[in-house]
């Protein structure tokens, strides 16, 4: 099956507010789709819907052929999400964090080590509580935890935010390799130059819909 994500006129509400007011999106395997648009447009919401976190109020959606309305939970085990927040346990060390998420998908030791060295959080940092890390180091830790998941679909919300110049380049390489290995990527970003260079397709989100 070709299109791994398809949203049809999806409406999703936060509180009373329709963060998505009829959004349509088709993504086929191997694409790197960039969602761009003004603040509050609905990018994060789209990613959360695709991850099966935000329920669909109206309309329909399928991810990897699984219905987002009926079987949201099935979807989750097959996608990986990096949100605005890092999803770390701040009282655990870098090492403990990555290993915990790894154990959720029983990743091999060797994968863990590779992910951590890729994100350069091995060595001194590995034994520091994530609460004490600098902003960028925390982002790296989150990315490492994501890498070990080997997800089929990567949903990334401003993945470059906080990373230093070198980190950004490294991340791009990681993402390209992931796609090369069969993954599909949807990312939201405001850094047009870099992100559009990475993306195979750019989609504009605004007013809770896709233009």
């Amino acid at each position: 099956m070709d299109s791994v994500i398809e949203l049809n006129d999806v409406v999703a509400v936060l509180g009373q507010f329709p963060a998505l007011a009829g959004a349509n999106l088709q993504v086929s395997r191997g694409e790197i789709v960039l969602l761009q648009g003004p603040n509050g447009a609905g990018k994060t919401s789209i990613l959360r819907v695709c991850a099966g976190l935000l329920p669909i109020e109206r309309g329909s959606g399928r991810v990897l052929g699984i219905d987002l309305v009926a079987q949201r939970d099935e979807v989750r085990s097959r996608v990986g999400l990096l949100g605005h927040s890092n999803g770390l346990y701040l009282d655990l060390t870098v090492d403990q964090n990555v290993r915990f998420w790894a154990s959720m998908v029983n990743a091999t030791e060797e994968e863990i080590v590779r992910a951590m060295s890729l994100m350069r959080i091995d060595g001194r940092l590995s034994s520091v509580k994530t609460a004490r890390l600098s902003a960028g180091q925390r982002r790296r830790c989150a990315l490492a935890s994501l890498i070990v998941r080997r997800a089929e679909i990567w949903l990334l919300d401003e993945p470059h935010a906080g990373l230093d110049a070198q980190g950004r380049d490294e991340l791009d390489i990681v993402l390209r390799n992931a796609v090369f290995a069969g993954a599909t990527i949807v990312l939201a970003s405001h850094e047009m130059e870099r992100a559009s260079a990475l993306a195979t397709r750019v989609v504009t989100v605004d007013g809770g819909g896709v233009q």
């Binding site: 991850a51 099966g52 976190l53 935000l54 329920p55 939970d73 099935e74 979807v75 989750r76 085990s77 097959r78 996608v79 990986g80 999400l81 949100g83 605005h84 927040s85 890092n86 999803g87 770390l88 346990y89 701040l90 009282d91 655990l92 060390t93 403990q96 915990f100 998420w101 154990s103 959720m104 998908v105 029983n106 509580k129 935890s145 998941r149």
Partner: protein, 231 residues
Amino acid sequence: MSSVKSRRTIAVAVARKDLSIEWNSRILTNQVAPFAAIVMVMFAFALDNEGILQRVAPGLMWLATLFSMLIVVQRSFTVESADGALDALRVAGVDTGAIFVGKSLALMVQLFVLEILLLATAVVLYGVEMTAVGLLEAFVTMVVATAGLGCVGTLYGGLAAGAKGRETLLPLLLLPVVAPVLIGATRATEAAFGSGGTAVSEGWPWIGLLAVFAVIFAVAGTVAFGPLVDE
């Protein structure tokens, strides 16, 4: 993810994670335990003029446990939602039943440690004397009651974890449910302490009640946790 083995590994991983968070932050030992201890001292203050302390010691001990439990449960889900880890956990798509078991286990361990401390405090502060059998009974009571509290705490804590408005529910939801535990455990402990001349043997039926409670909520939790924490 659904094979029994992997469920167990996940439950263990989650439990270990919660416990090492506690180990790193020492909230229980440095904050909750002193709190609970002080609670009991305060009771001693507020009630001693009556000299009824020995008689009500069991009730006070379990009250202190319940209050502390509120804090521990809230904490156990604050760490999840602080940096959005709960979302990450949901997306990890692991069996929610396993998560429930894992978090419950961690909670039980913490509560149990706490109860040991409180029991000691009670013995010291309130001058409780116990027979060997009484001690055994007190011990069994704690184990069974803790099992129940762990499950119900995790279950409703999960419900309270999500969006803002919810957390305010926790005490409201938890109180009526744990009331039976409070009663059962208190009565059983009274028997163990022999407070007010109750015989040790009177305790066991109450322990039975506690066991029933524990089983019900263990099952309920494993099934219902998913739907409850889910947005």
